[in-house]
Symmetry: D2
Subunit: 245 residues, 4 copies
């Protein structure tokens, strides 16, 4: 079983009728539906308005993979919550950052860069290409995956070079974007996936659901390594047991 | 189920009593025993002396992951067999190259470099350190993993920079070695793991078995991506179907 | 001084009036003109028709960076010449592979993969984006660099993940391509750069010249490291001198 | 000319006679001496005690590469100063972090991880091996570079996988360490180099000076790319000029 917490800011859906029409159960509700196809995944959801944003120590302790969607209220996420999430990722929790989450505090903190990018809302067609065909995240994903209309996200995307670059997108207007990027941080794994603007029905698509399910399994480090990383230990000579066989 | 073919040159065991004492069932036999712990792995074995070295199209077609041990007879492996193995790796078969397999034709062909390294047989202690604690290959592996006596393999190891560096070894004499290296080639995955000299009982150790089992699962691309890589196709404008939703 | 050898197959220009009109002095002649802007670069040229293709030991020994353009006659390049070039790259010579050189023997040998890709000649606009703004190859290169008409080269491009991904291209038809890729092999450096179809006047552009000049300097390893990689040396205990300061 | 600012905490030298004996002019003074060998490098120094730690906007604006040595007082470095340094790195300034600087705020901010490691002060011999012989940082560096006595820094070192791994160290006690690591962040470059404990005369060695000089040149991005990364610009359709040639 993989325990997923889908975190959604949850503001667009309240304020904007257009978004509500696309996502009547919220963006988190739609992502929940997509993940349900896989019976080995158990989903809970949380939003900014929840106590401690639903990101308590207890909630994170029961989370294998956290999915993050935010846009309008990045600055309203408490620094303490961000620190808790970062610590959990470094200890082995998976993190999937979606779309406008590129400017979330948690993503910036894990990347060390601005995470800025170029954007446009003009109904560009986005064509998503797999560039790592051995990768578990692309299993069963069509080549290419076509989004007939989507917000443009374009380079330069100010991130560290991904440990694995999985998807690259083409936009009608002439831009490209590294739309699927894997990172390793501490004992945990991070996947950034750019599709998912709030007014395009991206999270109702089975192919996008396939990517998310694959990403959940990739990001889930089932057996976190025993190595201790929360301190810099003093290690006396011969601290490890030499074998004598 | 993951179908593994353990390929062993199989010459040391015939010629050398010391090796036979350590590996009475051959190195392939010992690796077979280690993998048997995992009931989802099915093992077959093959050696240089087999017809077409046991590396026929039919045999490879039924192989998810090929494990390769060779040393004395790299040049006796037929170029046709090497070409078949390379083609299968690029199509999605996993390949695990062990120890002195660093100078095998198949590893050199996939790397594009000489794969030379420094070596010494002097009973060095090898201490193997995990440097990628998120990686599935290190799950359950002790930090460090100590081999009380082993052949020294030292830098500079003439390989491309690994896509993921998993293990680094320390030797008593002062050398270091990138002892666990992941590579992606085409639609397939390659893992090089240096432990396993023929006169040290490395392949009787459960911790080494854990690494091999983990590596088999990592290298097994369960759903090879549909993308065609065996040719450079001419793609007319609008060759992919644009959606209209 | 950086000594560059521009190698061009040199067949299109002889057979095809259209190509001759674009490149009256040959593709190698045009590249020579682009590089001349930099007074620290000394250029020689060679073609397939030259003795030993102009790739003798002596010629390679005097070459810091080799630029390679080929298309129609990859199979006519002698294996011995390819082996010589590969050996020199592994010993520290730079190699810049252009456009259809992706299917050259030398590039395939260094990559270990098929190097296949998707293509189309349909006057696509190619828009080239920098994705590594710290890289010396992109210094002074516009963002984006626009080729109004060019052959389409599209993913999946069957190469190992580049050590540094520098450029990604967008094509009108919806494809993307990793059009500027850095690789390290042995003690040498390899840069693949896709622009340069024979009937588009790519190599008359100053911005493309800027990329090539930058690439020459990046690929030139001025002080090759002293480490020996042409063999696997046996290293006795204490072979290196311990200091006593 | 490359303008280097050597920043040293400057506390050990004041408090501890043993350190003062090794570095009578301070650690920054010794590094200054090492860099002076290269006449294209201009050095200034600054310490924690200076106004704004000597890290004012004006000082950083005149700095191509910042070298950082700190240990006892990481928490006394003002967050504002750290933010200024990070912003400058992302805009193209080079940063070289030495030894115990691994726990500095600036290094942690750029890495996104804890940067913890294992350590021991027990006069281990450190043997430093080049694993990237094409890299400009290793030009002229012996293989191996031996420090007869040094503090042990061992894995697991909690950093993102380096973009380029340049040096790996062996310690007498059995540990290994990724002792030379390159990272790209935004438009800038970061090099971590572990040698340099305050009571070992590391910064009086010409071979260490060679590494530092090489690192300064590698980290100096002479022509920062024009791309704007300080915001996420809205880019209307056809915002870039299509050419008509």
């Amino acid at each position: 079983m993989t325990r997923v917490l889908v975190w959604n800011e949850g503001i667009h859906e309240k304020r904007n009728e257009e978004v509500r029409a696309v996502y009547p159960d919220g963006i988190h509700g739609a992502i929940n539906q997509l993940l349900k196809v896989d019976k080995t995944i158990v989903v809970r959801t949380a939003t900014l308005a929840d106590v401690e944003h639903g990101l308590t120590e207890a909630a994170l302790a029961q989370t294998d993979v956290l999915i993050w969607w935010g846009h309008l209220a990045h600055q309203q996420v408490a620094d303490e919550a961000v620190a808790r999430v970062q610590a959990r990722v470094l200890q082995g929790m998976g993190l999937i950052v979606l779309h406008s989450g590129h400017l979330s505090k948690i993503f910036q903190a894990l990347m060390g860069t601005t995470c800025n990018l170029r954007w446009r809302e003009a109904d560009d067609r986005e064509v998503i290409w797999t560039v790592a065909p051995d990768h578990p995240i692309v299993a069963g994903v069509p080549q290419p995956l076509v989004l007939p209309r989507h917000e443009m996200y374009g380079e330069y995307f100010d991130i560290p070079a991904p440990d694995e670059l999985v998807f690259v997108s083409n936009f009608t207007g002439g831009e490209v974007f590294r739309s699927g990027c894997c990172f390793r941080r501490g004992k945990g794994r991070v996947f950034y996936f750019s599709p998912g603007h709030e007014t395009y029905p991206i999270y109702h698509r089975a192919d996008i659901g396939r990517v998310l399910i694959n990403a959940v399994h990739w990001a889930h480090v089932a057996v976190p390594h025993a190595v201790i990383t929360t301190q810099s230990p003093n290690a006396p000579l011969n601290w490890f047991v030499g074998e004598t066989t």
